[in-house]
């Protein structure tokens, strides 16, 4: 340090033409500080003047500032909270983003010695000052995208974090105070996107740093909470049209589709035409949410790279259980869980499903939580491309077992409210089977397991879940079940357009938990590329029946045929918004996408991704994804 100081001083000397040694300098500053309490504040004011040099410093000024900061580091014990208030406030008010590396270093040293040498008085202020340096001053935000800004960002953040670490080293309890400060200072959902992103980056840095064990879980939880805040800010009404006359399923689909188109248009056109329905604020919030999700996904990836995904996942799981699970119809935040599961299906994926099922079967939880959990489970088992069919069958078996036990105990007629948890369970079983029946049927072992499940007993129980559950799910399920000969269904019960009745509306309660499918396609543009490869769209699902012939088709027979002509079949059916496609075992989706990109298959292909306006065809997923858009709605 002495050597460095000498060098700095060299510049200083030339300019001032005075000769000071390190000690003399420290002594000088010390005298200046002490004389304030005696009423003489001349040199003290001079010192503060130096600290206030901010904009475009000349080399001389930089040298002077560095010297002052270093001298102050040596005299921290003389700084008095009452007498030197203005000095302290100017130190704490400095933003490292405004200075070069030398000043940054000197400032960081000063902050460290200030907080360590004071008798605990400045711990909070020092931590707070460092936290404020997580984000650049407002004027600097635009520079963040340029290389110059990025290198400054690296310089500042590496120093801030190493300072936090050395403070943690000197004051072992500092992380405890850091926690609350970081969470307090976290930007709100209305703040600038760049600010939120940079801040959250810092939070992730803390999580993965040496203090991670102490502060990590709080950081992650806070990020998920912020995601949820943004998510809830969007509101279903921003996505959906306020047309309550339509059935909720169709309503969602139609509007999601329009919404996507709006989104795609955004780049080129003024958003005027959809401003009326889809307010601009909603879109800005959605973009923030999107970027934040991407950041989180990337972080999860890096965690996996470092082999600590499981550890992070436990925290995520906990925060999911206490916040997201109970948030009213959270739309996007849950994809953090989905992606974490996709990164490590054997551990995280299994753990997530098990936790959801445990919540569902446990009577200690309130009914809404249980229904929400089973909705998550159903959606997760249906959509997760990374889940093995045999695991899905195991989970389904547990679900069926629970429902069977319920049937044995209950002997009442239809009562949407009293049996709502049960109905939610039944709907989950049917929903999962809509997506997975074909793949289960094609593996003999699983097929026999499926046939052994007392699904018929459950669905034909006195409480009549078939009448109560969501008609579109029931309809699709019955169609597939009949084709697979899973159980005997009279044909009329299927083909009669199952309409949404009072009953089917009632069990979800006012919250309409019956129509909640959390892992429906994520509509956010940037995060889509993370989710898409791990996601099963309805258009990819192979059903047990053949759509063209519609009836009297042997399930297994048709499946083999479908396998051969899957690509063409898929294409035609997608155009119709229908539900037949290929299975990943026949043609891997990635290969398919690749082929699609290379335009090696029929031009008809492009029509299926029409939301991409034919340009970037893979940007948008088909939105006609749900059973409800099966023939009756078209």
């Amino acid at each position: 340090m002495g050597v460095e100081l000498a060098n700095e001083r060299a510049g200083f000397l030339e300019m001032e033409d005075v000769n000071f040694t390190d000690n003399e300098l420290v002594y000088h500053v010390r005298t200046a500080l002490k004389s304030v309490s005696l009423g003489d504040s001349e040199s003290y004011d001079e010192l503060i003047g130096v600290m206030h040099h901010r904009e475009r410093l000349s080399p001389d000024e930089v040298a002077l500032l560095v010297t002052c900061l270093k001298a102050l580091s040596g005299t921290v014990s003389c700084i008095d909270v009452v007498h030197h208030e203005s000095l302290l406030s100017s130190i704490f008010g400095m933003s490292m983003w405004n200075y070069g590396p030398e000043v940054m270093d000197a400032l960081v040293d000063l902050i460290i010695s200030l907080q360590a040498a004071s008798s605990g008085k400045y711990v909070d202020s020092c931590l707070d000052m460092l936290i404020r340096n997580f984000v650049p001053p407002y004027s600097y935000l635009a520079l963040l995208k340029q290389p110059r800004g990025l290198s400054r960002k690296d310089q500042v953040l590496s120093r801030v974090h190493s300072a936090l670490e050395s403070i943690g080293h000197l004051v072992p309890l500092a992380p405890m105070r850091l926690l609350s400060l970081v969470v307090q200072r976290m930007p709100r959902q209305y703040d600038n996107e760049a600010v939120i992103m940079t801040y959250v980056e810092n939070m992730f840095k803390l999580e993965s740093g040496s203090m991670g064990q102490l502060v990590g879980s709080t950081m992650l939880t806070a990020v998920v909470d912020r995601l949820l805040d943004l998510d809830l800010e969007i509101g279903w009404e921003d996505i959906l049209q306020e047309d309550s006359s339509k059935g909720i399923f169709e309503m969602e689909l139609e509007d999601l589709e329009e919404d996507e188109e709006d989104w795609n248009d955004e780049g080129g056109e003024l958003p005027g035409k959809h401003l009326s329905r889809n307010s601009l604020r909603g879109n800005i919030i959605a973009e923030k949410l999107d970027s934040l999700l991407v950041l989180t996904f990337e972080y999860l990836e890096s965690c996996q790279g470092r082999g600590r995904l499981l550890e992070v996942f436990e925290t995520l799981l906990h925060s999911f259980r206490i916040t997201v699970l109970n948030a009213y119809k959270s739309k996007f935040s849950q994809f953090v869980m989905f992606y974490a599961c996709a990164l490590d299906p054997e551990n995280c994926g299994v753990r997530f499903a098990r936790m959801l099922l445990d919540i569902f079967v446990c009577h200690d939880h309130p009914p809404n939580t249980r229904m929400s959990a089973v909705a998550y489970l159903a959606s997760y088992l249906s959509r997760g491309k990374f889940l093995s069919t045999s695991y899905i069958t195991t989970m389904l078996k547990r679900l069926v077992d629970w429902c069977l036990d319920y049937c044995k105990v209950q002997d009442e007629d239809v009562n949407p409210l009293a049996h709502r948890v049960f109905y939610a369970g039944c709907q989950a079983i049917m929903y999962v089977l809509c997506f997975r029946m074909w793949s289960m049927m094609s593996i003999p072992r699983l097929k026999s397991q499926l046939f052994l499940m007392p699904i018929e007993t459950i669905l034909k129980h006195k409480s009549d879940p078939l009448k109560v559950c969501l008609p579109s799910v029931v309809g699709e399920f019955l169609k597939q079940a009949r084709a697979a000969r899973l159980f005997t269904v009279s044909k009329t019960s299927i083909s009669d357009d199952i309409l949404e009745t009072e009953l089917s509306r009632a069990f979800g309660g006012l919250e309409r938990l019956d129509t909640f499918f959390p892992f429906d396609p994520c509509l956010l543009k940037k995060s889509d590329r993370f989710i898409r490869p791990n996601f099963i769209f309805w258009s990819m699902v192979k059903t047990t029946y053949d759509d063209d012939e519609d009836e009297d088709e042997d399930a297994e027979g048709s499946s083999d045929e479908d396998g051969e002509e899957s690509v063409d079949g898929a294409v035609e059916n997608r155009g119709d918004g229908m539900a037949t496609s290929f299975d990943e075992r026949d043609i891997d989706m990635e290969e398919f996408d690749y082929a699609l990109n290379k335009m090696s298959i029929t031009p008809k292909q492009s029509s299926m991704y029409r939301f991409g306006s034919g340009l970037d065809e893979l940007v948008r997923m088909p939105s006609r994804i749900r059973p409800s858009t099966s023939p009756e709605s078209l």
Partner: protein, 231 residues
């Protein structure tokens, strides 16, 4: 080291009804929330506890929420440093102006140059900072050394201690325990008596008995504490 004591406490922990199905977990959680913080209730920092639930029945307390009071007996390890106590700590950083130490691995303390006795000189040896005694060459304080120091003041909120190395019975423990003994035998100075006094002080174990109520930070009743000197 002074400042540590084991207290037998009779506690009443108020458990929220929502935690009713996992009482023992709730009790542990409540106690854990007091760890490593200065607590007025205990008059010290709770470092560890060993808890026994006395009764299976808990009294439902009147109020908006029907909390129930779980009675338990606990052995608490408390750390309550006070001015003029001698504490032991590990050195983590040395600067020309200060020595930074950590007590018991969690409380930070600093000794500023004004409180370091003249005997010690700050030097840099082979790129490493040390404080050397001018009087006894082998009395050296480096990063990692365990030192004994006197408490000057204490900030209870952030658990920050200001210490002093002024008294002669402070400094590197390693040196104090070995060489100091020999030297003082030769010197026959008064310091030996001080040292003996200090040793006696350390043998005192403090046993407190108190009835304190936890939960929601409110104290229900607190009985006087008796300090019994065993020796």
């Amino acid at each position: 080291m002074e400042g540590l004591k084991v207290s037998d406490a009779n506690l009443v922990v108020c458990v929220h009804p929502s935690k009713g199905h996992r009482v023992s977990e709730a009790v542990l959680r409540e106690l854990s929330s007091h760890l490593f913080q200065f607590s007025e209730i205990f008059d010290g920092v709770l470092l560890a506890y060993d808890v026994n639930i006395v009764e299976k029945n808990a009294k439902i307390l009147p109020g908006i929420h029907p909390y129930f009071g779980v009675r338990l007996k606990a052995k608490l390890l408390l750390f309550s440093p006070e001015p003029n106590m001698l504490l032991e700590a590990r050195v983590v950083k040395l600067t020309p102006e200060s020595i930074h130490v950590i007590v018991l691995g969690f409380a930070s303390a600093v000794i500023i140059d004004e409180d370091i006795r003249e005997e010690f000189d700050y030097r840099t040896k082979n790129g490493k900072e040390v404080y050397c005694s001018k009087v006894h060459r082998r009395h050296v304080i480096k990063v990692g050394t365990m030192i004994r120091f006197l408490v000057k003041s204490l900030d209870k909120e952030v658990l920050h201690i200001c210490g002093s190395l002024k008294p002669s019975n402070t400094g590197s423990i390693h040196w104090l325990d070995k060489d100091f003994e020999e030297i003082s035998l030769i010197d026959r100075s008064g310091t030996k008596r001080e040292r003996e006094n200090e040793m006696k002080m350390q043998e005192h174990t403090v046993v407190g008995e108190e009835e304190i109520s936890l939960g929601n930070g409110q104290i229900k009743k607190s009985k006087k504490r008796r300090l019994i000197e065993e020796s």
